[in-house]
Each structure stands twice: as structure tokens, then as C-alpha cells.
Symmetry: D2
Subunit: 485 residues, 4 copies
């Protein structure tokens, strides 16, 4: 049986790639190949850039409120196709339907934000500054922008980028993950249906070569990226060296601190959702639990029980599943490797998910929730991003010590505290050196109206994705100083 081959959208036309390189797209719940994706080369990237470059002047001159009329129609179409979209996310990524729903909803919220652009890209005036001189500033789009997105949020992360970029008057090239290109295609089809002009939005498929072609192309002005830290750093350095604006979000190692005054049930629910949701494949996943005296004993056993009770299985066919597969066999093996190493270093897997048996889907890439206690703070599972359903546990002697432990991480995405104490929450919020803080919120990923503010090695660049900074990223200011003789 043949599977469809993914097309690219260049200059308003859906077309096959000419590159000849093809990868399979897999449903990780079952291991089945569900599509073929081409890996385009530099010449196809250039075709997309030329299309976007040619479309730029007219789109940039289109009034902001006319650009948003297309986005309002897009919003309506996304809502109308909501079921289809989240099912597609589950099918190619493996997260549960509930998780997929939430992620698509979050993505649509960025379209909502972009619909408000006429209020959000205003410039400034100051008049009578001396000698009848008046000042004004205006925001201009940059030109051709590109988005390079990861496999873990096939709808949400592309939607973090192009709606804002387009609303600001830029033209765009999206290169989704070659592991999860299907949702992106559907997102772009709906944007075409909403009336986006030819060349304003383009979609290409590819991997390393396509990325490098984007990073070095002289006519691309800005790159938005989400992925792992080493790649994020490379993207930033290479893009910057080539004179581009770059916002490059990397990986993370997010910590929970549980204080003795936090309610057990709610904490456990929140930790499980954060550590094991999306099978741990998200940069906002909590992956290290820091307990302080008084909390440890209350939390650990109930946490183990709740994690052990999670049903793991194929997400596309079973709504009762609590956690789906990870993205691929190699990734599964990498997670196993981390665990083996930690055991070798003396850690104890108080819940070991490696031997999960999913009968209904024997070829899926499954690992069940795993809790690692007694772990060395220098171990890989504490210092690196595992990107799987693995929660390391470190016992701290105090809140101060826990904060210090967190602040030793080179990453800086999220930090979470569970407490009823306003004082503890405030200390945590002010002192922790990461950009997104959850007070009793397990996954403090901001909705669209706030920026996704990773710090340190979790983000490279000045202006973050979404929110006010996201809009600033896609625009440049011009200042005009006027007097009349």
C-alpha cells in the first residue's frame, strides 16, 4: 500500500519536491509509515525565498487591518477544523488526544493575538521638540522570515511564528520537522483557503541541508527556531553571523520544588502531567523533583503510585490512554541509555517504565513513567535534557538549597514551586534564574499574550517568541524627524 508524499507550497502552488531524498513519516503509536516526506535542497529553498521576496513589497504595503482580515478567516477555519487538526497531531506525534487538543488550542491563541496587530504595531510620536521639530517612529516588517520547527508540537510551534510574522507584513517560509510534517501542511492549506496571497506563505520540507540553506540565504532577514540547545545555539550563531535576526529556543531541564505545605493530591496531579505529559517530550516538562524535608515523605510514595497507574498505549485509537509513545525508536533507545547510565552511577529506578508491554501496539515506541531516586546531581539525567517520561529526584535540605541547585543548571526555561506560602513563592519567583515560573502550575508555558521567555541556554537571541517581544522581533523601527522651513 502506498502512502502519500508531502508537497511543498511555493509561491501559492503545491508541488512535489525535486530533490529525490525521501524519509518516511511514522505514527509512533504503531510504528507504521503514514507518509513520505522529501528533504529539499538549497535550490528549492532558494525558490521559496525568491517567491517570498517577490511577494514581500505588496504584502508589506497591505494595510494591517486588511492583513488581519485573512487571519480572522484563518482563525475561523482553524476552529472549524479543530478536531481534524488535533487528531493529525496525535497521529504523527503520538501525544494523547487531550494533549493534542490543548496544544492546538494554544496555537490558535497566537492567531487570535495576531488578529490584534493594528493595535500592536503602532509607532510613537513626540512633537514640538524644539524649533518646530516633530518626531515619529513607525514599525516596518523585515522582509522574508523563516521558521524551523521541531517534532514535539506539530501545530502549536509553527503557529507561534508565522501568524505574527505575517500580521506584521513579512512573508514566510516554514520548514516543519521532517518527523511531523503533516499537521503543518494542513495548517498551511487552511491559510491558503483563508486567502493568503501567493508567495506570502511558503512551506518546504527538509532537514540539515534545508536548514543551512535558510541560515545562509542572503535574502532571509529573520529565523525563528525551536529545538534542542546544541542546535539552537548553532542556529543562533550561524544566523547571526549571516546578519539575520534570530530567536532560537533550545532545550531545558526544569525543576519542581515541593514545599511541605502543598496539598499532596494536587501536587501529584500537576507533577505527573508535567513530567509525563507528551511522554516528557517538551521543553517545559518538569524533569527534576527537588524535595525539601517534610515534603519528601508525603509526596514520594503517592507520586510513585500515581505514575505507576498511568495507562500507556496508542493514542490515536484509545482515548483512555494517559501517555503515548515517544517519537521514534532511536529516541527510545537514547532514553534507555540515560537510564542505564544512571543505574550504573548508583541511582535507583523506584518506578521503571522500560518494560512496558503495550499489546495492542507492539511496534510503537513506548516507555512508561519512570522515577529515578538516589541520583547523582552530576548525572546525565540531571544535567541534560532526556526528553522522555523520566523524573529524577533530588533531596534538598531547604528551599535555599533547592534554589541553588536549580540555578546551577545551564538551562533557564521553567521552574515550578508547589506551596501555599506567599513568602516562599516570592523568594522562588525572584531568585530562580529561569524565565518561566510556575507557582503551583506544573507547566508554566505562557499563553500567546505573554512571551515564551527562556533564559540562559534555553534561548538564544534578544526577543522571545509570542507576546510583545514576538511582535518586536518581526518588525523594525524607523524614526523620522521633521521640520518645515
Amino acid at each position: 500500500m502506498t502512502v502519500p508524499t508531502c508537497k511543498q507550497l511555493i509561491n501559492g502552488k503545491w508541488q512535489e519536491s525535486t530533490s529525490g531524498n525521501i524519509l518516511p513519516v511514522t505514527n509512533p503509536s504503531t510504528g507504521e509509515t503514514i507518509a513520505q516526506v522529501p528533504l529539499c535542497d538549497q535550490s528549492e529553498v532558494d525558490k521559496a525565498v525568491q517567491a517570498a521576496l517577490a511577494a514581500f513589497p505588496a504584502w508589506a504595503k497591505t494595510p494591517p487591518q486588511a492583513r488581519t482580515q485573512i487571519l480572522f478567516r484563518y482563525k475561523h477555519l482553524l476552529d472549524a477544523h479543530f478536531d481534524e487538526l488535533y487528531r493529525l497531531v496525535t497521529r504523527e506525534h503520538g501525544k494523547t488526544l487531550a494533549e493534542a487538543k490543548g496544544s492546538v488550542r494554544r496555537g490558535i491563541e497566537v492567531v487570535d493575538l495576531a488578529c490584534g496587530i493594528p493595535m500592536l504595531i503602532k509607532g510613537e510620536t513626540l512633537s514640538e521638540t524644539g524649533g518646530s521639530v516633530d518626531y515619529m517612529s513607525e514599525r516596518f516588517p523585515l522582509g522574508v522570515c523563516a521558521g524551523i520547527t521541531p517534532f514535539n508540537f506539530p501545530a502549536m510551534i509553527p503557529l507561534w511564528m508565522f501568524p505574527i510574522a505575517l500580521a506584521c507584513g513579512n512573508t514566510f517560509i516554514l520548514k516543519p520537522s521532517e518527523q511531523t510534517p503533516l499537521t503543518a501542511i494542513r495548517l498551511v492549506e487552511l491559510l491558503v483557503e483563508a486567502g493568503i496571497p501567493d508567495g506570502v506563505m511558503n512551506l518546504i520540507h527538509g532537514a540539515r541541508d534545508a536548514v543551512n540553506a535558510l541560515l545562509t540565504h542572503p535574502h532571509i532577514r529573520a529565523i525563528s527556531f525551536v529545538g534542542s540547545t546544541p542546535v539552537a545555539r548553532y542556529i543562533y550563531q550561524t544566523g547571526a553571523a549571516n546578519g539575520k535576526r534570530v530567536q532560537s529556543a533550545g532545550g531545558a531541564k526544569n525543576h519542581f520544588i515541593v514545599m511541605p505545605d502543598a496539598p499532596v493530591d494536587a501536587v501529584i496531579e500537576a507533577i505527573n502531567a508535567s513530567a509525563f505529559g507528551c511522554a516528557g517530550e517538551r521543553c517545559m516538562a518538569g524533569s527534576t523533583l527537588l524535595t525539601v524535608p517534610g515534603a519528601t515523605e508525603r509526596i514520594l510514595e503517592p507520586l510513585r503510585e500515581a505514575a505507576a497507574a498511568m495507562k500507556v498505549g496508542p493514542t490515536d485509537s484509545d482515548e483512555s490512554v494517559d501517555m503515548g509513545p515517544v517519537i521514534s525508536k532511536p529516541h527510545l533507545e537514547k532514553i534507555h541509555g540515560y537510564l542505564a547510565q544512571s543505574e550504573k552511577e548508583g541511582a535507583k529506578l523506584i518506578l521503571d517504565g522500560r518494560h512496558v508491554n503495550v499489546e495492542s501496539a507492539p511496534n510503537g515506541y513506548y516507555i512508561a513513567p519512570t522515577l529515578v531516586d538516589g541520583v547523582n546531581p552530576q548525572s546525565g539525567i540531571i544535567k541534560e535534557e532526556v526528553f522522555g517520561p523520566v523524573l529524577g529526584i533530588l533531596r534538598m535540605n531547604s528551599l535555599d538549597e533547592a534554589i541553588e541547585q536549580m540555578n546551577q543548571s545551564p538551562f533557564g526555561n521553567a521552574g515550578v514551586i508547589f506551596t501555599d506560602s506567599g513568602k516562599a513563592a516570592r523568594q522562588f519567583r525572584r531568585e530562580v534564574r529561569c524565565g518561566m515560573i510556575g507557582i503551583n502550575v506544573g507547566v508554566p508555558a505562557p499563553m500567546a499574550s505573554f512571551s515564551f521567555t527562556g533564559w540562559n541556554d534555553s534561548f538564544f537571541g534578544d526577543l522571545h517568541i509570542q507576546g510583545t517581544e514576538g511582535i518586536a522581533f518581526y518588525t523594525q523601527q524607523k524614526v523620522t524627524i521633521t521640520r518645515w522651513f
Copy 2:
């Protein structure tokens, strides 16, 4: 007779450099050595960084309105020492006293801006976003920041940087130009007098080695730079590769367009001030005149006469001088080189300032205003930044053609049109691809409340110096999402 040796301020103590490398500081009006400046090495840079790092936590925690109390005192001291400061600028840089005055005034305006920081670094809230969840964002300082400043504005450009950085809660290291370090020293002395705590502000002297030490130091979080485009690009790339925020302003090639409806006298005054002010040594200098039919004949001869009438001479001893020397002998020779080359290519120096005779200061570095007509658009004096009192003239057939000519420049600082037509001014403002537009304003350098928004090869980075972007540059956001069980 001995001259003083410049000291460095590290951790609140003025101290001699231990590097052993020394350069003379010269009064360009006379060629006299007026001071010795050390070139510090990596170990001294590190000492400054360690001091700034140690001072950071307490300064970051100092309430914004307490930080600004020091800046209010600083503002008062700068006003009180205004005469001394602008005379020092003239002495080490050579610009006229009037020009020096204006530049110091502009610098002080940035202190004024920084005094308002409690209103300008607010974060945001949004409450009741679902399930009793509330959002807030806060702005945090970055840590240790550094400024690397050029010779041409010894007071103004340092003041573009550290007052805002400090007001935002960062600590700072200033490395002024080794050609003009004296004003910077006085600026920092006054800041100490205003009460800045030890280690919060540091001053070092140096050249390439010091710059590289700053760019690669792991504890420096942000670099602000102003200089030539090749160096600005290097600074940006190197700083970015080392994980720092960078705002890096480079050179320029700014054009005037004169329309036939513009009044001759006012235009000529504005062009002369822009092209020959500061001896052309500023990135906002107009250096190419684009005339359109109807304007050319009205403007050229009066312009030549007015430029020829400018008195060139030593600025520190003669208030009647209209234009001072350039910064150094090598720089003078470089300018001569550009002119020789343009003549070789067929251009005609309709005003030739090379043979100016300044009897009262025979060792100064003088060249008088120079007008180059019939110049090849591909010539160095059209395509590169000469940084001298040289104005190239190109005759265009229309406003459209003139704008097209401008937009071929890789630079993007300033563009100026002289006209009474609202329509022409609007077309110019919207279509010209540079960031600072003058409508009948010869030097459209924004005052502190607007950002200094170079485009293209005139600026590397996302967030410009001064204004709203300048504040965003020196701060990072943290988003907190809270619910209570």
C-alpha cells in the same frame, strides 16, 4: 614636560594599569600629546568583570527609584560641569566648542531618560486567565554589561549606554576609545561623586586585546558598541557566538536629496552642518548629495561658496572656527587617499580642502570642506564611509531615481530630504531603506527618547541604543504563572 597617565576604575578604586602598553592621547588641533593611555590586557579586563559581577546582586536588588536617585545627582553634576566637559571633548577630539556642547547636551539627555526608569521597566499582569490562574511578567537586569565606544563622541556615546544599563540594575564596564579616553574618565569620576557604589561602574582602557577579552568573557552578558561597520560586524558575530546580547552600531553613507521646492539658504546651512560638522566624523554625517533637476543648479554654486567660506582651524583656542581637525594623521591620510582615487576615476573636486593652511596650528590634522562632483557611483567615496569633510555629488533625474540610488547602499543609518512637499516627504519616509529619516533636518539623530535606529549594515542586533529599545536591551523578562490550591 610630562603628561598624565589615564587611570582605570575597578571596583571603586582608581588605579594605574599594569599592562605596560602605553599610547599617547593627542589634541588633534595641535598634534600635541596631552595624556598617556594604557592598553590593558585580559587579566585587567577580568578584574573589572569580577568587580562588576560581585557588585551585581546588591545593585540589581536596589530599588529602581533608589538607583535613579544616584542618576538624578549625576544629572545635576553633569549640568554643573557642563563647560568643563564640552571643553574636554573639544580638546581630545577636535570638534568645535559649539559641536561639543551639543554632543554633551545630547548625552545628558540619556541620563534624563534613565532617571525615568521606574516608569519604563514595568512588567505586565493579566489575571483570571482560567482556573484562577494569574499571569505576571517582570523585567530583570542582565548582569555585567560592557560598552565599547568610538573616538568621535567622547561624551555622548558612553552616555548612550551606561546610564540606561545602570538604571536597569546592571553593572557596567566602559572601554572608551584609546584616542579619546579623557572625557570618559571625567564622566565616570562624576558618577562616582554622585554616589555609584563600588564595582557597579568600571572603566578600563585598551584596544583590540581588551575588546576581545570583553567579547569572550563568560560573565559578560551584553555588549554595546559603536564604531565602523567591519568592526561592528565582528563585534556582533563574536559576541553572539559567545552567547551575549549585542547592540552594535556601525558606519554609514548618508544621502541628502534636495527637491526644487526647498529654500536654498536653509538647505545649504543644513547640508554644511551635516557634511562638515565634526569634520565629517560622525555616522550621521550626510556624505552624498543627490540632486534632482531644478534643484541642482540652484544649490551647487551657493553650496560651494558657503563651504569654501568655512573657517578651519584649532577648535580649543578659537571660538570663531567653523570646523576643526580630523582625529589623527593616519586618518587624514586615508581621506586624502579617497580623494586621490576619486580624481583618478574622473571626479572633479569643485572644492578642494586638501591644501588648507592653518597657520596658528601647523601640526594639527586639517582638511577643509571638499566637494566632489562628477563622481562615479561605484567609487569609494560613494560606496564607503570616508569619515571626513567630503561631500560627493550625484545628479539624479527624479526623486524615484534618487531613492533607488540610496537604497542600493548597504548602509542604513540616515536619509535626508529637503522639500516643502508633503507628498515627496511621505514617499521618501516610507520608501527609503534606512532607519533615521530627516525631513528638512540635516542630521536626524534622535534624542534620547527615541532609539538610534540604524538599519542594514549600519546596525547589527535586534535592539537599538536609547529609547524604548535601549531599555529592552538591558533587561530580560520573567513570566510567572500562579494559581493557589
Copy 3:
């Protein structure tokens, strides 16, 4: 044949009024009665207020982005019913279909704006202000708000108000003009269809008694009003005396200045559209033409010819009509009265529209474009708002004199200049004492992202309708200062 009777929406139920007072709603193109409208009394107003009050707590607590989901659906429904809506406007008001279209489009833009409220109602934070004290502010809705709207924009003006009020979390009572209630009903029906909860939006019909009941009701927190200046002043004073926020837009007397450098054809088109569009029944209509030497002779005769060529007739059945009827017979007679009086005072009707003969609709309320020259500056048609297709002409000696003449008006809505001169436009913009300036724009009514900023007797209150001020009007700030022991 019977006509329908307008219903009221109270607490989510469409219901007949119990008041017993009924007025006819007329199609002014034909004089036909097309509906009956009840005039409700204080008890019905109170029922609506109680419903809105009861619905307020839940609506105020609904997350902003959940409130806007309803508005996004509403936006979609308004677009889908666009034809129906503008035809209804034409039918009950009489303006041309093209004018009705434009006005509905402008109204929908306010819904677009309101969809962006999560970005627009953020509060502020400032942390570490001393002793570990943090500040935050939040915006809260006010409670029950009411809108009282005029006959001349049956869709646009209601849409100026309730979308923003609702998005901010308030509940609302709309009382549309009793002369044009039908469009308002349809607007509210569509909002119900979009999912607005019961009681959040309410619609009542009425006249003076209903208005007074709203103005004095202790549970109404804010009143938005648009109408004539005497009523607007009364609304403001009475609402303020009863402790409410009020934004109350009144009448106007808007002037055009034509400079000699303005192109005749474009100016005439703009003046005709402004002075005679909507039969002059809008507070942004230009109703006084100030000519300066050099412009007068170029403009007047072509203007007279173009105005004379306008086709007047029934707008609901004839798309070729350029101008429709005025709203009612009494209003037509009032306009005639102004013209008779001006003739008595010596003015000359160089185009007299009083005797227009519309054969296809003999019972409509028609008057054709009318130009009054030689008019006394103290005359009613210069000093008062005629609200008909009447343009008074005053000959000025200079721009200065024209600006002075404008600034003598007690009104302050719009002022328009036609010129190519940047200098003249700037002088006009800065010196004219009214809030909305058109530079070569005949009707400078701002789109939704800017406030509708009448000055002087054209507006009573602090915070104008639409734009940033419109949002501030419907919200109140709370400041919280926190420290933890």
C-alpha cells in the same frame, strides 16, 4: 398591512415591551412605516439593569481569552451577514448602500479590536521597590454599562461601544435610537447567536424616559452616548452627578480649508463626500468651507457643478443614487428653516437643494446638496450644527485667518486641510483646536485602533470612544502592594 413590533432582549429572552407607548419606525426614502418601536419606562430599564447586574460576576470572572472567543464568532457572523446588515441600515436610515457598507465595515473593525483584549487590558508590575515590596496593578471591569446611540449610524455607533465593554468583562444595556432600532436588534441577535450568555447583553427601546432611567439608575456604572451637543452635555452632567463614568460625544461644525496648491478634482470629490455624504447627517461632516486667496476661484464653480450633478433619491431601491433622504420630515423642516434664515441675513444659495423633485419616492424626506455663499459668520448655519447637506462658504484672507475662524467654533470634532505643503499641513495640525485632523482626508474619522477624539463641545468626558481610551473607559485599575514577612 401590519408591521412588526420591535422586541427587547432582557436576560437572554426576547420580549415585548409592556410600556404601551409605541412609535413608528420609518423608511425615510419612502416615508413608509416599517416597524413599531416601544418606548420602555423605568421599570423595564430596571429589569434590564437587574439582569445585567446578576450576569456581571460570572462574566467578569470569565477569562479574557474566553470572552473573546465569543467575539471572534461574532466577527465571523457579522461578516457573514454583512449584506443584510448594511441593507438594513439603508432601509431605516436612508443613507446610500455604499455609505451603509462603509459604516458597517467600520463598526466591525471595533469587534476586531475587541478580539485583541487579552493584550490590551494588561496591568503593570514593578518589583523590589524597597524592603522586598512588589507592586502590581490589574484592570477590572466596571459592572453594568449602558450605550445610548443616535439614528445616524445604526450599526457603527452601537458597535463602537458594546464589543469593547463586553470584552473588558462588563455587562451591557443598549438603547438604540427609537428612529433606527432595527439594525441594533439584528446586531444583538447575532451576538446571541455567537453565544453571549444570558444577561450579559441587553437591548431596550425608548426615548427620554428610558435615558433618564439609565442616567439615574444606581447600578449603572458607565454611560456611552453619541448625539447632539445639548443632549450630550445633559447626559454628561446628569451621569456625572449620579456618580457614573460618562463618555458623551456631541455635535460638531467641521471646517475645510482649501489651499491654492491642492488639486481641484480630488478636493471637490473629498468635499462632496464629506459635506453631502449621509445627507450631511454625521458629526464628522464638513459643513463650512474656508477658502483662501488663490483657491476660492479655482474651487467654487467646479464644486457647485459637481454638487449639482449628484443624484438624490431613494437609496434602498436605487444603487445609482448619490445621496439619500434626511431622517424625518421634522428634521427636513429644520434644515429648511436654517436656509431661510440665512437668506434673510443676506446669504446667497449658489446651489439650492430645497426644491429637489424625487418622482420615484414623493413621500421621502429629500433635500439636494446646497451651497451657501456670502454667509454671515454669526449665522446659524455657520455657528450651529445643521445636520443636513448644506455647505456654508467663508472667504478668508490667509491660512492664519482661516485657522483663527475655525478656532472660534465652540465645537472641536474635525478639521480638514487640502494642500501639498508639508508646512501648511503641520501648522494646521498643531494649531487647530479640534481633535480629529484630516490632511487631504475629507472625513477624518479614525478607525477602531485610534480613539474618536472630539474636543471642546464635541465631547464631554475624559476618555473617548474606541482605541486605547475606549478600553481605559470600560476598566478600572486596582493596585496591589505586597511584601511577605
Copy 4:
């Protein structure tokens, strides 16, 4: 011995009033007359308005950054005269030197804020909105503004008003309380010394007649007022009826809630400072204590002891005094009246300050801290503003009940909770219907960068004093829509 007579500043000249009405100004610590203050009449008010009106055009056209240069000098002078100013406050008002210091510091912070006005009065731009149409808005000053200030903050409250008004380009008339005019005079003298041009700032003295003359004067555009609620309401209604902008802050009845988890010592210190600071004469004073089970017993006795230990006496001569006199004998008698009435209704004065004996100052107006328990919630001392060192105590059964009790107050200034619980603090912050919330902060009066946001009967108007709203209050927007033919 004669005392000085207060002068007025009109049009830059200090002058005696011609009214003939004179009141004594008293040092409430001693009862001594320290000055004579005239009560000016309508004709003098008119002279001040005419001066301010004449000075307005030039001041409005002065560049913002030039206006703030005067304010920077003013800031410097206020700091330089800090001791003199706070001693003057104590002398005419009676609060302790420490309290006076704090209040002057708070006032100076508003000058700090006003120095930042070039960043804070920017307008907006939005370009290319269709057909090459561009939008811009600008902020203009209003014209002549007036401030009417109360006796209780002789420096701070005047400084809330005129620095912002002047920075925005308005001219100003200050009428300080006739009970405490001396500090205001000194404030204005220093502003003159700072270089404010003649007529831009004016000072008059007076009482009811002067207020009415200001409220009805056709050339006054805005009134800022702080006082008691009945007068504040009158000011708002009368000012609004006369077409002015009004911000009118009234009285308050602020509640503390103490939760069982709050630390006793810190709470008692905070309550005492709030309830008895400034002898209870401030609209931010906490005057009702709501205890909940578990907290009552812990708090009451220590609170009584601490309050009983406060030293009451003359503040101008004794730095060890904890609390000074109230403002006047009639006011003292009014407070006694409230207490007598509450006793009659059955309340018990568990600390009775009425019989305090201040030997060193037998003619001062003293009453010591007074605690009233068992008070009827309908009693005057619970429902009305006593403005004395009297704290009523109500025992609540729960936080919910306490919030409900608070929300029954018609006032809406401050509400304070003492707790360590983030959950309780959040509920309090969101549910309490007043505008300024203290979480463990006894007097949540915002510093200048946030608005002083009274709700309900504590404020009449749309735009509050200070902060962003304070700037909006003193400016009006003009929107310009431009296209060029």
C-alpha cells in the same frame, strides 16, 4: 508679636491678597498662631486664571525636554531643602518629623516621575492603513489646571499635581488648604527658583469662595482635588457641570484583615503605623480591624499594649514622640463626639486616648491612640471617616465574611490583609472592592509610578492621580489622518 501673612504668586509676582479676609494658621502641637492666611475672592482667582491663560501658549509650545530641565532643577532644590520642607510640614500640620520626612519624599518622587515626561506623553502612529493613508496621534496639554489640596499632606498632595500638570505643558493654579498653606508657599518659591516662567505656576489662598470661583471659571480646564467625600463629590459634580475634567479623591474607611498565620509583632507594628500614623488623619489610614478566629486572641492584647505605649506629644520639638496632635480643636471635638456616640451604642473603648495629658504642650490638640471593641457595624465610627487615631474592631467568623463586611463600605480606597497564605492573599486581592490593596503592607499608598486608585466613594472621576492615569488626565489626544494627493 506679629506673624507673617501668606502671599500669593500671580504671574510670577508674590503679592498680598486684597480680599481683607484673614484666618490664622496654627501649629497644632502648641495651638500657637504661626501665620495669617488670606482668603481670596473671585476677582483674585480670576487674576490668577488670566495669568495662567496668558502663559499657556508659550509654555505649551516649550519642548517637553526643556520643560523638564526646570523640573530637574526643581528636584535638586527639593532635595537640597529637604530638611526645611519636612520641618515645615510638621510645624503646620503636627505629624511627626519621621512621618513628615516620608511624605515629602513621596512628593518628590512625583517630580522624579514628571522629569520623565518626554517618554510618557508620546502619541502613536500607524501607517499604510489603506490608500497611502497614515495615522498619528499626539498628546496636547489642556490649558489652565487647578489643584485644591487638603491639610493633611501639605507637601505631598500639592506635589501629586502640579509637577505632572506642568511637565505636560499646562499652566497651574494651586490653592492649598487654608489650614496648612506654608509648605505650599515654600514649594512654589523653590519652583520659581528653579526657573518656572511667570504665570505658568500660580498660588492663591482661600476657602469655599475660592474653590467655587475655580470650579466655575470658564477658562479652567481641569481640577485636581483631594479632601473628604462630600466635598469631593461636590467638586466633581460642579466641575463636570462646568465642563471641566475632574479628578477628585475623597475619604475612606480602610479595613485590615488579620489571618491566624500572620506574625504578631510585624502585624502590630504595621497596624499601629497605619491606624495612628499622622494621628489617623489620612485617607489611607486603616481604621477598622477585622479579625478572624485564631487571629483575634493573638492580636488584640499585644495591639492594645503597643498602642498604649505610643508617646503622644508635640512633634516639632520632640523627636521621640510617636504621634502628634490632630489638626485643630474643632476636629478634636468631632473625634470625641464619634467616641461618645459609640459608647452610647454599647461599644467599649479598650484603649481610651481622650484623656491624654501632654504637659509640655497643654494647648495642643491631642488625643492618644484609641481602640474601640464591641462596636456596632452600623455605628458612625465604622461607617464614616473619623480622621483620628481611632481603630474600630469587628470580629468576623471567616475571611469570606470579612471581605463581605469590607465590601459593604461605600468607600473604596485601601484594604489590607496580613497573612502568609498566597491563597488568602489572592482571594482578598481579587474580591475586595477597593482600589489599593496591601498584602502585609499597612498603608498601601502607591509610589508615584502607580496611580492612586481609589474606587467607589473614595474617588470621583475617570483618571486617577499619579502614574499613567495622572499623565493621561493632564493631556488630550489629537488624531491626524493624512494622505497626499
